[in-house]
């Protein structure tokens, strides 16, 4: 018998997180997870147009709620994690040593941010720059990635001297080996409550709900911190 399979559409900030989660879930349940990544907006767009996924793991609550409003979900979105935004730069970047002042440092010519209309971390970045009162000042420096994974790649390759990226990516072994990050104060942006939802078109809703129950269970929630996320609130 072929093993049971769940298709998961996951926000790009989960790229370094999902391998750990899928491995743990497969070990516990015997169910294989097949994950597709994209910005929360891209995935919403694809699901709206018939992408056959079982579960949607967004980087915000707004996008799964849009699907729920369009009656494309089975149940309402549940929060499964809280995302954190950080300022990351390569070790050889002129942005080092990193501080909030690095953003306005003249030698930092390009800052990578995610698209604030497609990607929740992009929206958070815009909120940070606004609340720091430097959005107008740094606007011309901003280069925009379609999702947070692409955004962090722009800074990882050094083409942008710094990037406002997710802690999940900054915390991954690769990014740790290349650079360093500082956290952005929680007060500077609206909390990134990440929402999950089972999709109405899924042919295995029971399995999908089981996965969400596992994801929001205490042991998994307690382990999120090591992966660059905080438990759902």
């Amino acid at each position: 018998m072929t093993p049971k399979v769940l298709h998961i559409a996951a926000a790009a900030d989960l790229q370094p997180v999902m391998p750990t989660l899928t491995e743990a879930y497969e070990r516990e349940s015997g169910i294989k997870l097949i994950v597709s990544f994209g910005s929360s907006a891209t995935l919403t767009q694809q699901i709206t147009n018939g992408d056959p996924q079982d579960v949607f793991l967004s980087a915000d609550m707004a996008h799964p709620q849009m699907l729920a409003d369009a009656k494309l979900t089975d149940g309402t979105p549940v929060s499964y994690a809280t995302g954190k935004l950080v300022l990351w730069a390569r070790n050889d970047s002129p942005a080092q040593p990193l501080s909030i002042a690095s953003l306005t440092n003249a030698r930092v010519m390009r800052i990578a941010v995610a698209n604030d209309a497609h990607a929740p971390y992009g929206l958070a970045a815009t909120q940070v720059l606004t609340s720091l009162g430097i959005l107008a000042k740094v606007k011309a420096k901003l280069v925009v990635g379609e999702n947070i994974a692409q955004t962090s790649q722009l800074a990882e390759s050094g083409n942008a001297q710094a990037g406002l990226i997710s802690l999940t990516l900054a915390n991954s072994a690769h990014f740790r080996s290349l650079g360093s990050f500082i956290p952005i104060p929680d007060t500077a942006y609206n909390p990134l409550h990440q929402g999950a939802v089972v999709l109405r078109s899924s042919s295995q809703k029971q399995l999908a709900h089981d996965f969400l129950r596992w994801l929001t269970s205490e042991p998994v929630q307690n382990g999120l911190h090591n992966l660059g996320l905080e438990p759902a609130k």
Binding site: Q45, E146, Q150, L154, S157, G158, N159
Partner: protein, 222 residues
């Protein structure tokens, strides 16, 4: 309608077409004149962007030409900035990406020139440059139009490379194709539809003009 993106895209396509006609003419002439292995190797290299995904090019432009490599650092030192996120970067990417669309039609045009004509001219004492200028170029002139139209249209339609190295900067790297992508992502289908229809109409007219000219030539030849 994103007019900044429209203007930028037309500027990018025009500049790419001009650069490519200048680069592709000697390249196609060189390949056409030789049967040797070198010419075949060159032809295969030139045709590569036809079959490679644009992500390959985007990846190399971003990483190899970025500050993470020695070559990239030298280039950045020379230019004062990385190629990524600049209009120049897009022009460089477009030139590589559209290279076969300029070289291959020209090559076909040069190869279709009767070797008896060029041979006779050479026997009569014309230098290779004169032969090319006075015989090959005039006989292959429609290939220049084909090369220009295809290069222009292909550059307008470029997406993957721009997405990877552009950084979506309004007025600098946000081309029409990126603008449409953004509009679709934002579920702004009406705007995406307007921009897309404009692209479809423009591209169709360009191709129609090209093919209509060809068939009228064929009819007048007959």
């Amino acid at each position: 309608m994103d007019f900044a993106a429209l203007g930028l895209t037309l500027r990018l396509a025009m500049l790419t077409t001009l650069c490519l006609l200048v680069l592709a003419t000697p390249l196609a002439a060189f390949i056409a004149r030789r049967d040797a292995l070198v010419a075949r190797l060159l032809q295969a290299t030139v045709a590569l962007p036809l079959v490679l995904p644009p992500t390959v090019l985007g990846f190399y432009l971003l990483v190899t030409l970025g500050p993470a490599t020695l070559f990239g650092r030298a280039l950045i030192h020379l230019l004062g900035h990385p190629l990524a996120f600049t209009f120049t970067g897009l022009v460089v990417g477009s030139i590589v990406f559209s290279l076969p669309f300029a070289v291959l039609p020209l090559l076909l045009g040069f190869q279709s020139v009767d070797p008896v004509l060029t041979g006779t001219a050479a026997v009569l004492g014309a230098s290779p440059l004169t032969v090319f200028h006075r015989i090959t170029l005039p006989l292959a002139r429609t290939s220049f139009l084909t090369a220009a139209v295809l290069t222009f249209a292909h550059t307008v339609g470029e997406f993957g490379v721009v997405l990877m190295i552009g950084g979506d900067i309004p007025g600098i790297t946000r081309t029409l194709s990126i603008s449409i992508f953004d509009q679709v992502q934002e579920l702004n289908y009406a705007a995406a539809n307007r921009t897309s229809l404009l692209l479809i109409a423009g591209s169709f007219l360009a191709l129609l003009a090209l093919y209509a000219r060809r068939s009228s030539r064929r009819n007048s030849d007959a």
